[in-house]
C-alpha cells in the first residue's frame, strides 16, 4: 500500500454539485480531491439536452464547468474510483480509503481517437444512451466526456486483443489492477447525487415489455445533439412518433413503490421535453398526463404557460395502465379527472417521467455513522440555518444527495456546502 495523499477537502461525486462546491473551495485556496465513480465527471446534467426554464443547452453550461474543474490547480480528480471507507479520527482529520478501478487504458496516453472502438468486435448496451443503442466493450464513454479517454468494460470483453493491436498510442494495458489509495482530508462534501426510479417496478406500465414505453431519460437522450438515433424515433420500429404521451409521477408520490415524496423536477423536465419535441417534430402532438403541475421556481410557471400556448395538451389524471396494440401503439387508460370519466387514449409513444431516488451506499461509506432521512437521503441536521450540515461535523452535503432538487437549487446547495465547509476549515486554522 502506497503513502497517504493529503487534501483539505474530499468531494464525493463529480456531478454539477460536486464541481460547483469544489470550484468554490478551490477558488478560496483549498486543495480539493473529487472522487467520481463513473468514467467521466459531469454527473447526470452532462447527459441532458436543454434545461428549463431558460432552454439553454445543458452541455454548454456543464462542459465549461467541467473543464474549469479539470484544469484548476487546486483540484485533483479521480474518475472511475470509489470511496470505500471514511473514518473520522478527530475534527479536521478524516481518513478515507479509495478504490481506483482499472480502465485497462493508460489515461494520460490515450488521445480518444476511438480506433480501438472501431476494432472491437463486442457490442453491448450503451449505458450512456440509456440502452437505446449499443457500444463496444472498449469505448470512450461519450463525446463530451472528461477525461475523454477510452476504457475497457472487462466484464464484456472477449479478450481478443484487437484494441491493443490498433492503438496508435500503445495505451491499452490489460495488466492494470484495482488500486487502493489512502487519503487524509480535513473535511468531506457529499455530492453523490441521485438515481432514477426503475419503472419495471410498476409492471402495469409495461416498461421493458412494450418497447415504445421509454423513460424520460431515454427521451432526453433522443433530444440531444449526440443522440442515439438520427431523429426522435420509436425504439420498437424506428417510426417517427407523432403522438407522444408523458406519464407523470411514475415512481414519485407513490406509497406502493416506496417513494411517497415528489421528485420536484419531473413536471418541469416533461414540459421542457414537450417544448423541445414540438421543435424537433413540428407535426407531433404531445400530451402530458399529470396530477398537479409543479412549476414553482423562478420563471417556471411562465414556462408552463408558454408550453400551453405552444399547444402541449395537459390532462389531469394518473395513467392507470398501458397496453400495447398490434402496431406497437400504446393504449393508455386513465380517469380524466376534469370530466370524471375513465378514458382510453392511443399514443404511439409513452414517456415515463421517472422520479428521483436516493443513491445507495452513502451511509455505508461512513461505517453507517452518517444519518439518513426516512427516504434514504442524507439527513440535514439543521436544515433551516445550516442546510449543508450532516450529523457529522466536518461532513457536508451538496445537491441531490440530500433530496430531490433541480439544477439551480443544486448549484445553490453546493454553494452553501462550500461556504459551510470553508467556515469549518477556517475554524480549524484559527485553532492552530
Amino acid at each position: 500500500m502506497s503513502k497517504t495523499e493529503e487534501y483539505d477537502v474530499l468531494v464525493i461525486g463529480g456531478g454539477i454539485s460536486g464541481e460547483e462546491a469544489a470550484l468554490n473551495l478551490a477558488d478560496q485556496g483549498y486543495k480539493v480531491l473529487i472522487v467520481e465513480k463513473d468514467l467521466s465527471v459531469g454527473g447526470k446534467m452532462i447527459h441532458l439536452s436543454k434545461v428549463f426554464p431558460t432552454l439553454d443547452c445543458s452541455a454548454c453550461i456543464t462542459t465549461p464547468k467541467v473543464s474549469e474543474t479539470a484544469r484548476h490547480p487546486n483540484i485533483t480528480i479521480y474518475t472511475y474510483s470509489e470511496v470505500s471507507n471514511i473514518d473520522k479520527k478527530s475534527e479536521y482529520d478524516f481518513r478515507a480509503l479509495l478504490t481506483k478501478h482499472p480502465r485497462y487504458v493508460i489515461e494520460d496516453a490515450c488521445t480518444g481517437c476511438q480506433l480501438c472502438e472501431e476494432a472491437c468486435p463486442v457490442t453491448v448496451q450503451d449505458q450512456y444512451q440509456y440502452d437505446l443503442v449499443g457500444r463496444k466493450a472498449v469505448y470512450v464513454p461519450f463525446s463530451i466526456a472528461n477525461p475523454r479517454v477510452a476504457a475497457i468494460d472487462i466484464e464484456n470483453c472477449s479478450l481478443c486483443g484487437a484494441c491493443e493491436k490498433v492503438c496508435p498510442a500503445d495505451c491499452i494495458d490489460f495488466t492494470q489492477e484495482e488500486e487502493e489509495i489512502q487519503i487524509k482530508v480535513k473535511s468531506v462534501v457529499i455530492a453523490t447525487g441521485f438515481k432514477l426510479f426503475d419503472p419495471t417496478l410498476i409492471p402495469r406500465y409495461g416498461f421493458g415489455v412494450f418497447k415504445n414505453v421509454v423513460t424520460s431519460m431515454q427521451m432526453e437522450r433522443q433530444l440531444v445533439p449526440t443522440r442515439p438515433y438520427n431523429n426522435v424515433l420509436r425504439p420498437k420500429d424506428g417510426k417517427v412518433p407523432d403522438n407522444i404521451a408523458y406519464v407523470l409521477c411514475a415512481g414519485s408520490r407513490d406509497e406502493t413503490v416506496g417513494n411517497p415524496i415528489c421528485s420536484q423536477v419531473c413536471c418541469m423536465y416533461s414540459i421542457k421535453q414537450a417544448q423541445l419535441l414540438m421543435g424537433a417534430l413540428p407535426m407531433a402532438d404531445v400530451t402530458i398526463y399529470y396530477l398537479h403541475i409543479r412549476s414553482f421556481g423562478k420563471g417556471f410557471n411562465e414556462f408552463y404557460q408558454q408550453s400551453k400556448d405552444m399547444g402541449v395538451t395537459f390532462i389531469k389524471g394518473k395513467i392507470g395502465k398501458i397496453e400495447e396494440t398490434e402496431n406497437g401503439d400504446l393504449k393508455l387508460r386513465y380517469e380524466d379527472i376534469e370530466s370524471g370519466v375513465v378514458k382510453e387514449a392511443n399514443h404511439d409513444m409513452a414517456v415515463l417521467s421517472v422520479g428521483i431516488l436516493a443513491n445507495d451506499g452513502v451511509s455505508s461509506m461512513f461505517n453507517n455513522k452518517l444519518e439518513l432521512d426516512q427516504y434514504n437521503f442524507v439527513e440535514q441536521k439543521d436544515i433551516l440555518a445550516n442546510p449543508a450540515q450532516t450529523n457529522m461535523s466536518g461532513v457536508y452535503v451538496a445537491g441531490t444527495a440530500s433530496g430531490p432538487m433541480d439544477i439551480p437549487d443544486s448549484i445553490l446547495s453546493a454553494g452553501a456546502a462550500s461556504a459551510e465547509t470553508s467556515g469549518y476549515l477556517r475554524g480549524g486554522y484559527d485553532e492552530k
Binding site: T256, G320, K321, E335, I337
Partner: protein
C-alpha cells in the same frame, strides 16, 4: 349547489376501514379497475363524495354495487387510500340506508348491539323449547313452519320495502324517466346477475372466486329449497336426503375456505373484515354444518336423545333468518343483482 360536510367521513369510518381521506384524486383506482367504463367510472367519484360528505351522490349511485372488490385499486393506490375497502364500507352503509327499520345500521355499526341481538334470539329459541318441554317432534315441526313463515314475512315486510327504497333512491330521486315496459324487458338481466354474478368475471384473476361463489349461491338456494319445500329433515325420500347432504357439505366446505381466507388475510378483499362479514360466513358455515349433522343424527336415530343438536341448528337458523338475511350481508346478494338490473335500465334510458 352542494354543501360540504366533513363529518360524513367519520360516519363512514364506522362501516369499515377509513383510509380514503388520503386520496389526492389521481384517478388511478378508476383507471386500473377492469369493471369501469365510460358509463360507470368508479371508485374515485365515490371516494370524493365520501370525503366531501355528498351523501346524496352516494345514495343515488349504484357504483358501490358494481364493484366486486378485486383489490386492484387498493394495491396500486399511490396514497394507500384503499378505495376498494371504501366501496365495501359504502355497500354496508347503503344497506343500512335502504333499510327502513334502521336496524341494519345499528347492527353494522355496533358489535355490541349485534351480539345482543344474537343472544336475544338464542334465548328466545331456548325459552321456546323449554316451553315445549324439549319435545323433538313439535320443535322440529315448528322449526319447519318457522322457516316458511320467516321467509314470507322477512321478504314482505323487510326486503321488499327495502328494495323499493333502493329503487326510489336510484331511479326516482335522480329523476330518471323509465318506461314501464323497460322494467320487463331488462328483467332477465336481474335473474342472470342474481344467479351467476357473472360480472365478477370482469375482475382480473378471480375465476376461482367467482366459481366458488357461484357454487355457494346455488348450494345455498338448493338447500333452502330442499329443507323448506322438500322438507329435508322430515322426508324419507333417499334422493332428497342425499341431495340435502351434498348441498350442506358444499356450503360448509366453501364457507370454511372463506373463513380461512379471512383469517389469513391473503387477498386484498380479506384485509379488513368487519363483524358483519364474519357473521355472514360463519353463520352460513354453521347453517350448512349443523343442518348436515342434524340430518346425520336423524339418520342414525340419535336426534331424539340429542335435541340440543337440533336446537343449535334452530338457533343458527333463527339468527340467520331474522338478523343476517334481512339486515346483514345477505342482502348484498339482492341489492347487487338489483343494482345491475337498475344500471341496465338507466343505461337503456
Amino acid at each position: 349547489m352542494a354543501k360540504i360536510n366533513p363529518d360524513f367521513a367519520k360516519e363512514i369510518f364506522k362501516y369499515g376501514n377509513g383510509d380514503f381521506n388520503a386520496c389526492y384524486n389521481c384517478g388511478n383506482c378508476t383507471a386500473v379497475c377492469s369493471l369501469t367504463d365510460e358509463h360507470n367510472s368508479f371508485p374515485r367519484k365515490m371516494v370524493r363524495a365520501s370525503v366531501l360528505g355528498l351523501d346524496e351522490k352516494i345514495t343515488t349511485s349504484l357504483d358501490p354495487w358494481l364493484c366486486y372488490y378485486c383489490g386492484d385499486c387498493a394495491t396500486t393506490c399511490p396514497r394507500e387510500a384503499n378505495p376498494g375497502e371504501l366501496m365495501m364500507s359504502l355497500r354496508r352503509w347503503l344497506t343500512a340506508k335502504y333499510d327502513w327499520t334502521g336496524l341494519s345500521g345499528l347492527l353494522q355499526k355496533s358489535l355490541l348491539f349485534s351480539l345482543f341481538a344474537f343472544i336475544i334470539t338464542a334465548i328466545g329459541v331456548i325459552y321456546y323449547s323449554v316451553y315445549q318441554n324439549f319435545n323433538v317432534e313439535t320443535i322440529m315441526h315448528h322449526g319447519h313452519l318457522f322457516e316458511m313463515l320467516s321467509i314470507a314475512s322477512v321478504f314482505t315486510f323487510i326486503i321488499l320495502p327495502n328494495l323499493f327504497r333502493m329503487w326510489y333512491f336510484v331511479i326516482i330521486k335522480p329523476g330518471i324517466k323509465v318506461k314501464f315496459i323497460t322494467y320487463f324487458k331488462e328483467f332477465q338481466d336481474l335473474l342472470i346477475h342474481m344467479f351467476t354474478q357473472k360480472r365478477t368475471l370482469g375482475c382480473d384473476d378471480s375465476q376461482t372466486r367467482w366459481f366458488m361463489h357461484l357454487i355457494l349461491v346455488f348450494g345455498y338456494l338448493a338447500l333452502l329449497f330442499t329443507t323448506v319445500v322438500l322438507d329435508w329433515f322430515g322426508t324419507e325420500n333417499l334422493f332428497i336426503i342425499l341431495l340435502g347432504y351434498i348441498e350442506s357439505v358444499v356450503i360448509f366446505i366453501i364457507t370454511f375456505i372463506f373463513v380461512a381466507g379471512r383469517i389469513q388475510k391473503n387477498k386484498e378483499v380479506n384485509k379488513f373484515s368487519q363483524p358483519s362479514d364474519w357473521f355472514f360466513v360463519i353463520w352460513l358455515f354453521l347453517l350448512g354444518f349443523t343442518a348436515f349433522i342434524v340430518r346425520v343424527f336423524i339418520d342414525l336415530d340419535l336426534i331424539e336423545n340429542n335435541i340440543w343438536m337440533y336446537l343449535f341448528h334452530l338457533i343458527v337458523l333463527v339468527q340467520w333468518a331474522l338478523i343476517i338475511v334481512p339486515f346483514g350481508k345477505w342482502t348484498h346478494f339482492l341489492y347487487r343483482s338489483f343494482a345491475m338490473y337498475f344500471d341496465k335500465i338507466k343505461q337503456v334510458v
